[in-house]
């Protein structure tokens, strides 16, 4: 009869040892694989977040300085275009009044110059900067020429250009904007023409509800100054070229401003992007504040908690005009950091906000992989927006 014994202890021990070794090898190898997978996932996660954030910033920077048909790009250097003179009922809001016509809608600060970090919030993250973007949004109303084909313009029917009158004051008098949902208590509109951008701040709704029988409630009526330069009481008055240049309207119907008929009313956007450190109440990350229709800035909103630094630099073009003969002009371009732009000692860069041709955005994100405590993930992303 065949002996039918099992393994003895020694055999079993050896077998167990070998099996344990093999298992340990497989386990550690799989755990490494798993850790790498988690690490990769985290890298990808931060990267996606940075990309989305960058896309958001790029879209805004692309729009910066564009107000309806008027663009500050390449134009703001010419002082004749940088007109923002408008008599408005009041201008009390700092975010509103901070609009600068001598830039291209992009400005950055190394410290909180505009006081946009509310109290209670964490401080600006170390070495991070504040980006301010200003641009015009959708058209909210079109100019209505109110031309009656030569029939009489009178006190009840005012024409933009009063061709019927023989008065020397008959020219630029009124601009009507047909109501298409103008928010009568909104304070953030921009009036733009082909060559100019005007700020409008409506402190009260009365400017939209004139007594003019031909206007619907909510229509906007702008008064142009009379030839003597006096704004018309009670309305929003606006100076356009001929008045500013001191040219009084004349009889022969030519004294209208060419800008006039390209006027359109657009929303005005001001946005601040900034990276905060953290405190007990707020997470670290990139925050945004937007100028609201009420005239105040929104509360800071967290855009991404993975971003821990935002810095900007600029390519400044010192060419005085666009001309092919200027190619290879010595000393034409300069790379400037935000600090350079605000440093009065820096002759290349100081206050050259109106000569920016490209904005370099740099975002830094970091984190650690939960499964590998010593694996610090650090990602830096740079994108450039050049205006076309």
């Amino acid at each position: 009869m065949k002996k039918n014994s099992g393994f003895n202890l020694i055999e079993l021990m050896i077998a167990l040892t070998i099996a344990a070794g093999v298992l340990a090898l497989i386990t550690s190898s799989f755990s490494q694989l798993y850790n790498t997978f988690i690490f990769n996932n985290k890298v990808l996660n931060i990267n996606q977040d940075l990309r989305l954030t960058m896309q958001l910033l790029k879209n805004d920077v692309n729009n910066a300085g564009i107000f309806g048909s008027f663009s500050f790009h390449n134009e703001s250097a010419a002082s004749s275009y940088a007109v923002s003179s408008v008599t408005t009922p009041s201008c009390t809001n700092s975010a509103w009044c901070n609009f600068e016509s001598n830039g291209v809608g992009v400005k950055s600060f190394t410290s909180d110059v505009d006081s946009i970090i509310p109290s209670g919030y964490p401080a600006l993250a170390s070495n991070s900067e504040i980006l301010r973007i200003q641009y015009g949004g959708n058209k909210v109303a079109y100019l209505d020429p109110r031309d009656r084909n030569g029939s009489g313009c009178n006190t009840s029917y005012r024409c933009t250009i009063d061709k019927c009158s023989t008065s020397p004051l008959r020219s630029l008098n009124w601009a009507y904007f047909i109501n298409s949902g103008i928010e009568s208590n909104a304070s953030s509109y921009m009036l733009t023409s082909a060559n100019r951008a005007y700020l409008l701040k409506f402190a009260n709704s009365s400017v939209f509800t004139t007594g003019d029988a031909n206007l619907l409630v909510g229509d906007l009526l702008l008064n142009f100054p009379t030839s003597s330069g006096c704004p018309i009481a009670g309305g929003v008055s606006l100076k356009i070229e001929s008045s500013i240049a001191g040219t009084a309207p004349t009889y022969n119907y030519t004294a209208y401003d060419p800008d006039m008929f390209s006027l359109q009313l657009v929303n005005f956007y001001t946005r601040y992007y900034f990276v905060l450190a953290s405190n007990a109440n707020y997470a670290a990350g990139l925050y945004v504040r937007t100028l609201q229709s009420s005239g105040s800035l929104s509360a800071p909103m967290l855009v991404s908690s993975n971003v821990n630094k935002l810095t900007l630099s600029y390519i400044v073009d010192n060419a005085t005009s666009l001309n092919k003969t200027l190619n290879d002009q010595a000393g034409r371009f300069a790379y400037c950091s935000s600090a350079n732009m605000s440093s009065s000692g820096n002759t290349r860069c100081y206050n050259q906000w109106n000569k920016i041709i490209a904005v370099n955005l740099n975002l830094v994100g970091s984190g650690s992989s939960s499964s590998m405590s010593n694996d610090q993930i650090f990602e830096s992303m740079t994108e450039t927006v050049g205006w076309r």
Binding site: L322, K324, N327
Partner: protein, 198 residues
């Protein structure tokens, strides 16, 4: 007497054989995991490299838009840094290696077109090698003229130098190169981005 029931277990050889079969299956699965990991790593790297290439294109565009090139047809499609005298784009590189020193440091001094182009390329390449922070052992990049979009390798950018259109090519060598089967992945460690002229 009862007939004895033969009750033998598996022999050692049988057990070894079955363990060998099972473990080879396990190894195959493990290998598959590794390859899949390498592929996802490759994808991440590729995405990052495309972002880098895109960044350079945008910088070139920003530069290009501020330059009015000569109105004749021969200059159409040429990129910024176009020199009226050298009749060539300052963005075309000959070096396939790391960044060459810029002709001027535009962050401390003002620059002309070709100096700006050289500075842009230098900072871009420096960032690529020092800040890209991707699991790669080696990286090479070039901006060149190439009318046929030749696939680059680590040793040769494969640019034919003809035409007016510029191409950005980046090639890298992953850390886990040995893991990646040559057949499956070695063909995938590059990005090419054509820079459209205007």
């Amino acid at each position: 007497m009862l007939k004895s029931f033969k009750s033998a277990g598996f022999s050692l050889i049988e057990v070894m054989t079955s363990v060998a079969i099972v473990s080879s299956l396990g190894m195959a699965i493990y290998k598959l995991q590794l390859v899949s990991l390498a592929t996802s790593q490759q994808t991440i790297t590729k995405q990052l490299m495309l972002q880098y290439a895109d960044n350079l294109v945008n910088q070139m565009y920003a530069h290009e838009n501020s330059i009015v090139t000569a109105g004749d047809n021969t200059s159409l499609g040429l990129m910024p840094g176009y020199s009226s005298t050298a009749s060539n784009s300052a963005y075309v590189e000959t070096s396939y290696l790391s960044a060459t020193s810029p002709t001027a440091d535009c962050s401390t001094t003002t620059c002309n077109d070709s100096q700006l182009a050289s500075y842009v390329l230098n900072t871009w390449k420096t960032n690529l090698t020092t800040k890209s922070n991707v699991p790669i052992a080696n990286i090479k990049a070039i901006v060149c003229k190439d009318s046929v979009l030749g696939v680059p390798s680590m040793s040769n950018p494969n640019c034919n130098g003809s035409g007016t259109q510029l191409v950005i090519k980046i090639v890298w060598q992953p850390h886990n190169y040995d893991v990646e089967s040559g057949v499956l992945l070695s063909n995938n460690n590059y990005v090419m981005l054509r820079v459209p002229g205007r």
